[in-house]
């Protein structure tokens, strides 16, 4: 639902129903939006007899907040605060190694493509001569 609101900018319950949430009941959608509003994720303004809902936070801000919450939970979960932190550094390190491997492969593929193109161009020039 948040994805739909981020994409549209704002919407009423009726507009969301018409844009891909036909399977949900009107009241279900309304209740969910109301809960999101009460959680502070949406703002709303009256429009006729309905409400128009807008996301209060961007996708990036929400992800950042979720990450912050998860990290805080992780750090609070252990009596020794260094332990989860060292796990975190380890995980980030593993992610980095994987990412660098992927980037390395991309670079090698691009280099191969460029060399092949160059060889093909040279071959065509020699054939022409």
């Amino acid at each position: 639902m948040l994805e739909a609101l981020w994409a549209r900018g704002s919407a009423t319950v009726r507009e969301l129903l018409e844009s891909g949430y036909e399977k949900l009941a009107y009241t279900t959608l309304m209740t969910t939006l109301d809960r999101l509003f009460k959680k502070g994720l949406l703002t709303r303004s009256e429009e006729g007899r309905a409400f128009r809902y807008r996301p209060r936070v961007s996708r990036e801000e929400l992800h950042r907040e979720e990450a912050r919450h998860s990290f805080r939970q992780l750090l609070d979960s252990s009596p020794t605060s260094n332990l989860p932190l060292s796990f975190l550094v380890e995980i980030v390190g593993e992610q980095d190694v994987k990412l660098l491997d992927d980037l390395g492969k991309l670079v090698e593929r691009k280099r191969r493509d460029l060399n092949e193109n160059r060889a093909r161009r040279n071959g065509r020039q020699e054939g022409g001569e």
Partner: protein, 317 residues
């Protein structure tokens, strides 16, 4: 007394303008980032840096061009007027701000100096052709893989392993990247930012640092093959970087975890011939805008002085 009052009033006005504009610039960071992303990395970096400096430049310009002349010309020298505490407090706040900035800058300079001395204590210099104006390359044991360090005469430092990790083409591209940082005086710019700290402008400064890295990447490559060489250098050197903050007042080819070089590598792999900037049009446009602004300022200068003087009168009372 007259000159002391003039000095305090000028300082207070400069402080008000600097703080107000800095707060606005800090709040409008995301908008500035969007504008900077529209052009090339170089123009984006220049724009972001100018935005960050603009409160200081504007405050200084308005103070020198309007506040001081309006006080000297329109304030009666021998009049005895009540003088509130406002200008005094604002001036003190301004001086404290300047002292804080200077302390920040001097501290950063000292730390950078210590770091460079530690890095270069066992360094030996060597040359790689073509030799640039500042391309004194030193080899040291524990420096970042490749860095430009120093403010006035920056040195390009290459760690011993870097030479063996990179092939010749990759090393040349990487050195050109650092030479561009030296040419653009990026370390000096970092020092300037240290001198004018202001809460809420961190996003803008971080965006400038990223844009300046990309601008140096762009300047270091002139075809797709060189772009791939630089991307390869970034990936190879990122493997040897540990998670630690970059050294003070130093630009390094890689100084952050892999996720930060991801966008630079992808950008280099999608390298395309940059469009030639239309300098004649830009130059004409800049000249026209400058001429219009100067004419407008000149035509309303006397009225502006009166307005500024009224504002300073209000401040004094």
């Amino acid at each position: 007394m007259f000159f002391l009052r003039g000095f305090l009033v000028s300082c207070s006005m400069a402080v008000i303008m600097y703080v107000g504009l800095s707060a606005i610039i800090g709040a409008a960071s995301s908008m500035a980032l969007r504008v900077a992303a529209r052009g090339s990395a170089k123009s984006g970096a220049d724009f972001l840096f100018l935005m960050r400096l603009s409160p200081l430049l504007f405050a200084m310009l308005v103070t020198v061009a309007f506040v001081v002349p309006s006080f000297l010309l329109l304030e009666p020298q021998h009049a005895i007027e009540p003088f509130g505490f406002g200008p005094l407090l604002l001036s003190i706040a301004g001086f404290l701000g300047v002292a804080w900035g200077l302390g920040n800058g001097v501290g950063a300079l000292r730390r950078a100096d210590r770091q460079i001395r530690a890095w270069t204590i066992t360094a030996s210099s060597f040359e790689i052709q073509p030799r640039g104006a500042f391309l004194l390359v030193s080899r040291a044991a524990d420096v970042p893989p490749l860095a430009a360090a120093g403010i006035l005469k920056p040195k390009i430092l290459v760690a011993r392993e870097t030479e063996s990790v990179l092939n010749e083409r990759e090393l040349r591209c990487a050195l050109r990247h650092e030479r561009e940082h030296v040419r653009r005086h990026d370390n000096l710019r970092k020092l300037l930012l240290r001198l004018i700290p202001f809460p809420g402008t961190g996003t803008l400064e971080q965006a400038w640092r990223e844009a300046s890295e990309m601008a140096a990447d762009d300047a270091a490559v002139s075809n797709a093959s060189e772009a791939v060489d630089l991307a390869a250098a970034l990936v190879k050197l990122s493997r040897s970087v540990s998670l630690q903050p970059p050294a003070e007042l130093t630009t390094a080819l890689v100084h952050s975890p892999a996720s930060a070089v991801n966008s630079r590598v992808e950008r280099l792999l999608a390298w395309k011939e940059p469009a030639r900037p239309r300098w004649s049009h830009r130059f004409l446009l800049s000249c026209s805008i400058t001429a219009v602004v100067l004419t407008a300022v000149a035509s309303v200068y006397p009225q502006t002085l009166f307005f500024v003087h009224s504002a300073t009168e209000w401040l004094v009372r």
